[in-house]
Symmetry: C2
Subunit: 329 residues, 2 copies
Amino acid sequence: MSVRTQQQAIAASRELAVDLSAVIVCVTGDQPQILAIRSENDAADALASGPLESRHRTLEAGLRSWVESQTHQCLGYVEQLYTFGDRNRMVVGSNRRVRMLSIGYLALVREARPENTSNTVWRNWYQYFPWEDWRSGKPAVLARIERQLRSWVADAEGAGDRRARAERVRACFGLGNIRWSDERVLERYELLYEIGLVPETHRDRAPAWCSADDVIKEGALMIADHRRVLATAIARLRGKIKYRPVVFELMPPTFTFLNLQQAVEALAGLLMHKSNFRRLVESQGLVEDTGEVSAGAAGRPARLLRYRHDILLERPVPGARLPQALRGK
Amino acid sequence: MSVRTQQQAIAASRELAVDLSAVIVCVTGDQPQILAIRSENDAADALASGPLESRHRTLEAGLRSWVESQTHQCLGYVEQLYTFGDRNRMVVGSNRRVRMLSIGYLALVREARPENTSNTVWRNWYQYFPWEDWRSGKPAVLARIERQLRSWVADAEGAGDRRARAERVRACFGLGNIRWSDERVLERYELLYEIGLVPETHRDRAPAWCSADDVIKEGALMIADHRRVLATAIARLRGKIKYRPVVFELMPPTFTFLNLQQAVEALAGLLMHKSNFRRLVESQGLVEDTGEVSAGAAGRPARLLRYRHDILLERPVPGARLPQALRGK
DNA sequence: TCAAAAGTGTTATCCTTACACCCATGT
DNA sequence: ACATGGGTGTAAGGATAACACTTTTGA
């Protein structure tokens, strides 16, 4: 098995189609946005996606190249998310089924360029996931979602199964003594998908036992599994801002503390304590003062900050969950 | 661009070969091991890798199926790592170059089964990365590595470049006021690769400016980019054990605190404080006491523990790096 | 009796959270 | 004057890291 011939691999690939898809994120003001591709006839949006071209040395270079040429967006930070290849991604080719593989990427851009191609739009990502925005209190949709989840738990066969379901619901949606976790975007979406609360379930292959009546209609749809890819991206980004200074990839060259806080809040879908936020950012040494102050805003003008580019990599990545290792020797 | 025809995608895939490769990990006693495929003629090992078959519904199912049939290992926890597809992975096909894509997976198994196929071996992963094991003090190789890194820093063109290089070296290898971070396995490997301190650089495409004389020869090689895949796996696992109870996927049904601690230490390549480790594990409620005690060991017999399967998902994932969100509303 | 490992307890320190309060500006 | 946002101080509580020390077994 060690020496698989290239022929085998190539033969296998004959039934394959691979593309790259990108969740392109920016923050305008206090809203997180993604670049969506509008389809003419279909109601559902799509993510930007393009072919895997072999002339680029790396996958990432290929992605950058076509996204930049197609959308006239200059990509900043880019990170591979996941490779999606489930069977329900198959499409029917000329005369046989073809497995679609899609390598998902997260890309951050600094500003929302005017939409110059007619079919691309910047959309607030909470349009697709209304239950993920807690900034103005608990989202209304969650009442209905929770009701459905409870009945799913109640429908379990045995007591063990019921416990497991209850546990999972509590963890995903922060019920009982567990808190809502902003990072569980994908787990939440997958739970909804699995139990048929989301239209995609019924579009893909509806299991007999779940009815389409209970579907949550709030939240815009996307084609194929693009909403799953988006959920993956949001989850990754929400996690990442907590231990790597990636927010700054979304900020203009100078910004105030409030700007920064609102950007983080937009991504996390949660509000933060003002003073604690400042202190944390300041203590990390991530920003430095430009001499200037902001103008034109409502209240007192604020100092304008700038990201300290020199601290690109360091950040001791604090907060490990294991006891500190023994020092030295 | 939104509506790419399937034809395009399929056409693009003609020049593609996709396979799955797996880093299969277990811990025996106090050593982390991976399943390596020995090659007959070549000196370098390979990771387990197999074709992407279309009969399975998910990629993961396909991986499990062929790994289990080929290696007679029953895989426990499985997680997708990354999709590797750089140009230097190209291979020459019948009469043209073919891009090799490889979807890397991390798989954890509970025990090292006797090696029943002649060409598979369990190997200590520190054979490939001797600089990653700090359990008995600072690894000896690091002296040489650090010397080379310093001279790379000194060789920088301008002052800015020099600072950036110094910064990067400090962050990756924990020099100056920055501590060694067990999780930066991949970043370290990539730095070594980039500046030609590792044989792979010269095998792939040696840049003129770096000489092969300085190469670090300690550490076993692997074919193609498999050592990079392994580095990715180790990094991911080291990170994951800190916030998800994945170590237990590597433990036998019952174990002592010491067993558990040694497993974690094996993975992290660092030693922990005994009492603090216990307290942390206990406080998380991850384990429960079986009535029994361990027998036959050197000192005083220890209580045998068991993983509490009921807490699969919860774990509030503490230690977020952002200020706590405002409560409720 | 000694070595080896299992356990228990305690302290200083730092980080996080949660408040309370004052400052500067435009309308 | 007051609303809006900028900015400082601080005290309580919790988690960590680092010690010191006792207990139980096998050889």
